[in-house]
Symmetry: D2
Subunit: 301 residues, 4 copies
């Protein structure tokens, strides 16, 4: 039995690797992206290149979307040449964008009206995970049956496909994790800076934290102090990695959600403001979010 064509919209830093992993897995793709250089490459590798999202929806009944923000998602689904114009019944759209939960829920409603399905399946694991097909997918599918159908596709791109229940729950989980991560990175940066100023060796301090109750991913896997862990962005001039602007964006989604459900988030909201300061500072704007360590340390010496 020949496997059906899969649609893929959004071939950026994450989406590009994900689409290639689908192809490695034996899938034929029809792709769309605004960046011609990228689509040319996919064409060379055997993918069909669509002119519009609508053309993807006309050809494929399984569609991945991996887009930068809520307005992009709205446009790809509901725009003039959007998916909704041509979508076939029983299509499954899997959206791995990190966006407002309310937008995911709205898209699902619009697709239901077309007898189709929308699930939110945001990802964690970074560019490395996208490339190695080791991503985690946080899936809000609404039913086990839909989840199982999605899992067939998603498994080619990740190793951890989590069923979180209702549509929107994927976004909730993603936003919660990233809010916590955003707080932790600042917390580790200020803690490391304090300890170093008090006289501790940076590696000795990290060693204590990593084996004590202060342990966290931001200290043991992605320590923001250059030289504590080799090979990660903080040890490479904060180049690559996860940018301050993206973190500011994810924390703004968390703040929107917190206002919506009326949940107080004192540290999440202060962290949001700190990344916003970084995101508008020419020194820090284009750097990995671990650069908050440089923002906090004394720059007069």
């Amino acid at each position: 039995m020949r496997m059906s064509l899969v649609g893929f919209i959004g071939l950026g830093n994450m989406g590009g690797h994900m689409a290639r992993n689908l192809m490695k897995n034996g899938r034929s793709l029809i792709v769309f992206d605004l960046n011609k250089a990228v689509t040319e490459q996919f064409k060379a590798d055997g993918a069909i290149v669509a002119k519009h999202p609508a053309d993807v929806a006309a050809a494929a009944k399984e569609i991945m979307t991996v887009l930068p923000s809520s307005p992009h998602v709205r446009n790809v689904y509901t725009g003039d040449n959007g998916i909704l114009k041509t979508i076939q019944p029983d299509t499954l759209c899997m959206d791995s964008s990190t966006i407002d939960q309310t937008v995911s829920i709205e898209m699902a409603r619009l697709l239901r009206e077309k007898k189709s399905l929308y699930i939110d399946a945001p990802i964690s694991g970074g560019v490395g995970g996208a490339q190695a097909a080791t991503l985690t997918f946080m899936v809000g599918s609404g039913s086990d049956q839909v989840f199982e159908r999605a899992k067939v596709i998603l498994s080619a791109m990740g190793k951890n496909i989590v069923n979180l229940g209702a549509v929107g729950n994927g976004q909730a989980a993603k936003i919660c994790n990233n809010m916590l991560l955003g707080i932790h990175m600042i917390a580790v940066a200020e803690t490391m800076n304090l300890g170093i100023k008090m006289g501790l060796d940076k590696k000795a301090l990290a060693g204590i934290l990593n084996t004590s109750s202060g342990r966290c991913w931001s200290s043991d896997t992605y320590n923001p102090v250059p030289g504590v862990i080799e090979g990660i962005p903080p040890s490479k001039g904060y180049s690559g990695g996860f940018g301050t602007t993206l973190m500011a964006k994810d924390l703004s989604l968390a703040q929107n959600a917190a206002t919506n459900v009326q949940a107080p988030t004192p540290l999440g909201s202060l962290s949001h403001q700190i990344y916003r300061l970084l995101a508008q500072d020419p020194q820090f704007q284009a750097k990995d979010f671990g650069v908050v360590y440089q923002f906090l340390k004394d720059n007069t010496k």
Copy 2:
């Protein structure tokens, strides 16, 4: 060869278990504590009970002190009947109190004038670790030789004895870890509350965080939401554990240190204020610090 007497001052929640572990290890103790009920029990078990810290110092050349705060330490060492009155040359005082780094450094200086040694060796691992002799000691000893001498004693009470260099570095590491822990606990509380309000199941959310970049001890080992992890204080009405008042105290030490070395700590300072609010609220004052989750969640429903 008969082992020499060890002095032990401060037989509270932590010190009591630690002293017993020394006795189990075959050590004879001379102890001091203001609480008579406690010293009576140690007497019944074979320890000598001293009238004053000075009596301890007259009898023992290895002395542990485990006290609640900087003023207590000052008083036990420099008070009218304090250790300094009778200390013998070449005595080693090991202070496992969590106090101001500046006080540790001052005590070390005063003991040096008496040809004796003071090291700071604050602990992590909680009451459970004290009882099971699995504590971590963060040691600021000033030299490898002194560290090795201390290790002989400390090993009877903990399993992880870390040499951090100069006197005061133990306090620095302890304060840094606890500041990070204090921030993380609030961060996890607000993240879990947000996610639950957005529709996620609490265990599913914790599962995502614990396998993603938001992972930390406060989510995977001590999650503040009742029922996520059984057997810990948050699942037992926040009884036992580490009190909000103690966390407020440790964060005030961190803030003093940060002001001293001029390190900005935006999240550490806001967290300090939040624990201070808890510590003065009759509902939360006597509870484990995970109760910050109850403080943040909606109490009108």
Copy 3:
């Protein structure tokens, strides 16, 4: 010359007094509100009562709207029986609701398509000012001519009608003022609490602040400590006044706007979180926002 009928939609705490002031000024009104008890009273006093906002728009070419939030405004203007269904060319809608700036701008666009005018004219001055016709109107009218037309009506309800330029600028000014006010009230509460705990007499401290660089409306006119200023809500059990829930709402508008224009607001965002905590606490929820003083002071004594 007989004056034309004025439409008035939203007869709540503020709107009710404002509509009465228009009537005192000789204006005939056609009114709409969901609360029948209120509209009955207006009917008894000579106003026409409309069934729907659309009926108001069919009858009047000058319409005031004073509504609680963005969704209410959207519904009154664009709903099934909304103003837009029947609006006459050259109608001037003056909206004194405090809402998202983006909604004001959108309403203005929709009315322009109907050859009509929408201005935002949010108010300050409280219920007292509404009653005494001494409100300040912050007007985003788009042109001097429109402003002058609106001023004829607004002057009957306020004494300070400020022309701020483009539509949406009224909301910007209102939100900015209320964000600053919200911060100040917490700031004064924590300052007064600190000073009193340090030994100062509350009136002596307020006296110093009010004649020094700490001077502000929240200290010299609306001091949150009971007994400092008589006759205001903080001296009357925090009853009446401006509720914590309303302040939380206004600060959420400020946060939405700040995210929108990417302006960092560290104190505004922390203040928002504090009012959110108050708004979900049964003790503080229904109280004047000065009650933040009670939230901060030690409640164990």
Copy 4:
């Protein structure tokens, strides 16, 4: 009757002008300062120059001290050549330094043992007020009689001499005012930045705030946005005025006090951290504290 000699220790930015005003008022001075250039000038103008604080105390029974921080005060009073070495009975020391309340209280105790008097009399009004003799003195004198004695001297340097009761209350009032001021300046900076980004004219926005409930000294007298008020530091490149480093110091005193009396100060503590960030940034370090506006605004455009 010839007036007695007045001692004056600390001839810096504030003290220099204050001492001159005493001389203008007909007082003969004996002065001390480490800066020889300054004391030479006072000598030329007729003052006696002392070698040490002790020489001042040997010659004068009314002594002003105007010093930068707690350690300086401790040293001038209790150091090897300090005031306490030679102080005459019934001397009145008036300390206008801004320092830890606990240090003021300790100095008063030490002077009482010498049958002398210490009062804290910190000042507000800035360099301008020092020069024009229009300062406010916040006096913690302990008794009306002592206050009246001090007032005779202080009136030559200020126009508002406030009796606040117990020794230490002057520091409490000063610290409270400056904490409130420090918060307000950031609050106005973020509010103005938000409003301007939302489209408002800066002067129109300031006008609204200054006539509404957001009114405060930092908006109506010392607005941090360049060009809103002419002639103040924010309109002169943030030169002169009150430096970010001094504000960071005053807020650290407030935080010490808050920890001491256990008063939660969420905004005071966050503001402290923000000034600390400014104080260690080469761009902002030497500038007036209104420069927080530049820190918050978008610097990428």
